[in-house]
Structures are given as C-alpha cells and as structure tokens.
C-alpha cells in the first residue's frame, strides 16, 4: 500500500522523528511521481537544492521544479532574489496553473511552515490546495493534486498536529525496530471506514522503495541462537550425576507416605512376635462413661 499512496490524491502526511527520519521516504515518493509522468514541485525550506536533488538521475531531476526557501527564507540578505509571497504565495501560484494534469507538491517541511506561519493560515491554504480538484463552478478542468507534507512530530503540540491530521487523507507514521524501518499507514477514503496497515520497507541508494516482510521472528532479543545453552552441572566440586544402579535404586524406593496395597496389608495384619497391647484405664469422678459406642452407626 506504500507504493500507491499518491493515487488517492489529497494531503499525505509523513510523520517522522529524530531516530527515524522521513526525508528519504519523501524523496522515494517524489521519484515515483516523477516516473509516472506527473509534474512535481518541491517547496524546499530545510535542505539545499543540491542536497535534495542528490541521488536522483537527470531525467527525474528535469521533472522536479524546486522552489528554494532554504538559502534566505526570511529575507535577511535584503536582496531581490527572495520569492514574493513566501512559501504560501508559491503554493498558491502552483495551484493557479493553467495546464491540466496531475501535480504532486512536496512540502519539505511542513514543520518549518508550521513554526513560521499561524496554524490556521497554513491549514486553510492546505485545504484550498488539496481540495481544488473537487471545486465546482470552475470552467477549466484541473488535474488531481497530491500534497506530500513532511512533519517532524516532536516539534509540535497535539493541537496543530491534530489539525493537520484531520486535513490529511493519508497519514504515514515512521518507526522501526532493530535497524528495520516501518511505516504505519492510516488511510481515510471518503464514505469508507479508515484502514490502517503497517509496512516494513527500506530505501535503496537510488531512492526506490523496497517493500519487505518484518524482521524475522527468530531474531527476538531474548534468545540468541549463536550462544549455546550453558550446562550448569559441569565444572562442579560435587557430583550431581547418578550411576545406573543408583538410578534404579532411587526409582524403586517407596515413599514413606505413599499408601500402596502392600502397606495396607502390613498394617492390617498384626506382626508376629508382638503381643497385643492393653490399655488400663482408671476412670475419674468427672468422667461420663457412655457404654454406647458412638461409632456404631458407621459402616466401615
């Protein structure tokens, strides 16, 4: 499902963290769009154009239009090179294009935009962009717009993240275990129940996606197959082993409180040479001697 993320259109949120970074997945999805023949626009705020284009071959690079907000985003150098309107102006300009055809816009990153713009403005702009193809009353047919936004989860509170999440058609949360990356994909299709799925993957050096099965079950952290189990009875100063004769003698031993038939007969049969014992009883004055046997009604 990871490779068909862009087919739905709308806003795709890539949530990454310090430990599991999402830019390589963003670049892999951008490469996929470019190979499908779509027009791809990159709003680059966090890395330089050279760094973003690195790893792509020239035919993909020719399809990418890079809007550079890395070098001087706040116009500190006071030159005329700064793009007017800032990142949101560039975003709106992309959507006012006249040629029909699917377009993919990659926001690198949405976190930068969220830190520098009010959350409401950004959400309104994203809503306007990603729902443009369903806008009625427009005479020119507009192609499908997909927006890929890279969001660094730890930088924002639950409010802005929740607002962006409710705008998104698809949310991909990056994680992983033991060196293997995973993507948890939550997909909201209109008039259908949201579906979620976890996909293990890796990104190859040419930024193509390699979908994988998860890490194998044997490689659990508790048992390591390379270390043989240690036998604790070796190297002791005392003997824990039994010889064959000792083992037989042990097995044939009858436990003292085990009631077997031999024991029962031995108890019932009086032993020869032993006189029966008598009990001499001198009753006291307080004793109540009842001649009736209280156990008479018992049926033994």
């Amino acid at each position: 499902m990871l490779d068909s993320l862009l087919s739905l259109g709308g806003l795709v949120l890539l949530r990454d963290s310090v430990e599991w970074e999402g830019r390589s997945l963003l670049k892999a999805l951008v490469k996929k769009s470019a190979l499908c023949g779509e027009q791809v626009h990159i709003l680059g705020c966090e890395v330089s154009e050279e760094e973003f284009r690195e790893g792509f071959d020239s035919d993909i690079n020719n399809r990418l239009v890079y809007h550079d907000f890395f070098r001087d985003p706040l116009n500190w150098s006071k030159t005329e090179e700064a793009l007017p309107g800032g990142p949101l102006g560039a975003l709106r300009a992309i959507c006012k294009r006249t040629d029909p055809g699917p377009v993919t816009i990659a926001l690198d990153s949405l976190s930068w935009l969220l830190l520098h713009l009010p959350c409401t403005t950004l959400c309104q702009a994203l809503h306007a962009v990603s729902h443009q193809d369903s806008c009625p009353g427009d005479s020119s047919p507009v192609g499908k717009v997909s927006v890929l936004g890279l969001l660094h989860e730890e930088l924002h509170g639950p409010g802005p993240v929740g607002a962006l999440s409710s705008l998104a058609q698809t949310e991909v949360t990056l994680g992983g275990r033991k060196g293997q990356a995973s993507a948890h994909i939550l997909c909201r299709r209109p008039r259908q129940r949201p579906t979620d799925q976890t996909q293990w993957f890796s990104i190859l050096p040419d930024f193509s996606l390699d979908l994988q099965e998860g890490p194998s079950v044997e490689s659990q952290p508790c048992s390591d197959p390379h270390i043989p189990p240690v036998d604790p009875t070796t190297h002791l100063t005392f003997n824990l082993h039994l010889s064959k004769k000792e083992r037989e003698a042990r097995d044939s031993l009858i436990l003292p409180f085990q009631f077997s038939s031999e024991k029962q007969q031995a108890l019932l049969r009086p032993r020869p040479g032993q006189a029966t014992s008598h009990i001499f009883y001198e009753p006291d004055a307080y004793d109540d001697l009842d001649q009736e046997d209280p156990d008479d009604d018992l049926d033994i």
Binding site: V18, S48, H116, H152
Partner: protein, 266 residues
C-alpha cells in the same frame, strides 16, 4: 582532542568530513568535554574557527585547551580563531557606541526579535579572505551553548532560524562544519528547550548525547555517550546507526569503554 573519541567516530583531523552539523547534547551531566574536544580537533585540523562562547570565559577554554595541546591565545593572534566572549561582550552592548549592531544586540531590545546581528558576525568572521592564498582548510562554527540564548529571552523559533542561516552559510555555501551544544534539561515543563533540541536534532548529521548514569554518580564511570548518525547522503540498507559507550574523564584524556566494561569493575 581525545584520540579514543576520534576512533569511535572514525575520523581524524586530516580527513574529517565537511558540510556537517554536529549536535552535542547533555542530560544530567556536563557535556563540555565534547566542546573542548572539537575545539582542539578543528584547531589541529588547521581550520578557521569562529567560537561563540556564551557559557565560559576565554581563559577557561584556554586552560583546558592547553591540556589538550592547543594554545587559544596564539590561535587568536594568528587569525585562526575568532572568539566571541559572551560574558564580556554582553557588558559592551551597553557601554559601547552604536556604530553597527553588536552581535548580542538582542539584549538591548525589550522584545528580543531575531538573531540577525549574531548571524552577521559569524558570516563576517568566517567569510573567505579575498586576494590571499588559502591559509585555512575550511571554516568551522562552534557554539557553547545555545540554551543560554533561550534563558536570555530569545524565542526557540528565532534560535532555530539563526541555526538555519548559519547552516546555509557555513555548511552549504562555505562547505564548513558546525558544532552546537544544547542542554537537555529533562524538564517536562520546558517546551521551548524541547523545541530547540528537537529542531536542531532534525537538522544535524551527527548527535553526541552525554548522559549521566541512571543510577547516580559513580567515581569510575562518569557517564554514558550515545552516538547517532543521521542523514547519510545515500540511504543505506541497514539503519543501525546508533552506538552507546560509557566514559571516564581524566586530567588530559577521556577513556571510553563498552557498557559494563569499566576497568574498575573487571
């Protein structure tokens, strides 16, 4: 410069990578030994170093530097080291005449806006000198430390913008390196520091995190160092890029060992 740390990071002054941002972070312990390491490392690599020192005085760094084999006074006189001593120049903001904005100009403003004057100072210090032959290999920016700016009233986003501009100029344009120290207070209430730390973490290529031991102070093991490599230029198939070591700081060196393998324990 600690030779054992160079071995762990697989680098040495002659063949260090360029265009990288290294984040030093400490939690429940003092990570300044890493700052001294990188200062002496880059001075020995014959780099032009701009040191924005907001935490300690010049003589403190000089004394420690001499133990590690570098002389900061000589480096400053030669022009290899540009030193902004925050503790001293903060006072100059008030007593100096205002020709051009002072790097720490934000201290005068009621509403601390942005750190553009500080960025201009850094850019001026590290820009390549025209007309002369290249005396230094590449420029390096060292900041100790960024959390001081937060406590002086600058917002976290303004500090992140300053780091962004420094990265664009030092790492991308001049192909130099940056080393930044940020304290991790571990305090759940300090949201600004968390935003700053996470924001710089996402921009960095290498994160060295010095942590105190969870069980408390120990005489033979001073702490634990976690090394995390990020943002390789080519994505690698195996993402196991994190290592953890424990360390003990001695007078002139730091010894590193695997967890639980301290010589005092074995």
């Amino acid at each position: 410069m600690f030779v054992e740390l160079n071995n762990l990071l697989n680098t040495n002054p002659d063949r260090a990578e360029q265009g990288k941002l290294t984040l030093l972070c400490d939690a429940k312990t003092d990570g300044s030994f890493l700052v001294h390491h990188f200062l002496s490392f880059y001075l020995k690599a014959n780099c032009k170093v701009c040191f924005v020192a907001l935490f300690q005085s010049f003589s403190h760094y000089n004394i420690v530097g001499q133990k590690l084999g570098v002389n900061l006074t000589v480096a400053r006189e030669r022009g290899q080291l540009v030193f902004l001593e925050g503790l001293k120049s903060a006072v100059d903001v008030f007593f100096q005449t205002q020709e051009e904005p002072h790097p720490l100009q934000f201290l005068r403003e009621a509403n601390a806006g942005n750190l553009k004057p500080l960025f201009e100072f850094v850019r001026e210090a590290l820009k390549p000198v025209d007309g002369g032959e290249a005396r230094w290999t590449y420029p390096v920016l060292l900041v100790d430390d960024l959390s001081v700016l937060l406590s002086l009233g600058v917002g976290a986003v303004a500090v992140l913008d300053f780091i962004h501009y420094c990265r664009a100029t030092v790492c991308w344009e001049l192909k130099g390196n940056m080393v930044i120290l940020v304290h991790d207070s571990g305090d759940v209430e300090d949201e600004e520091n968390d935003i700053l730390l996470n924001g710089v973490s996402h921009q960095s290529h290498l994160i060295l995190r010095a942590e105190g031991l969870a069980t408390g102070f120990c005489r033979d093991v001073h702490g634990q160092l976690r090394i995390l490599w990020r943002r390789p230029s080519q994505p690698t198939a195996q993402r196991d890029q994190s290592l953890t070591y424990q360390y003990k700081i001695q007078d002139k060196s730091v010894s590193f060992f695997a967890k639980g393998m301290s010589p005092a324990v074995l």
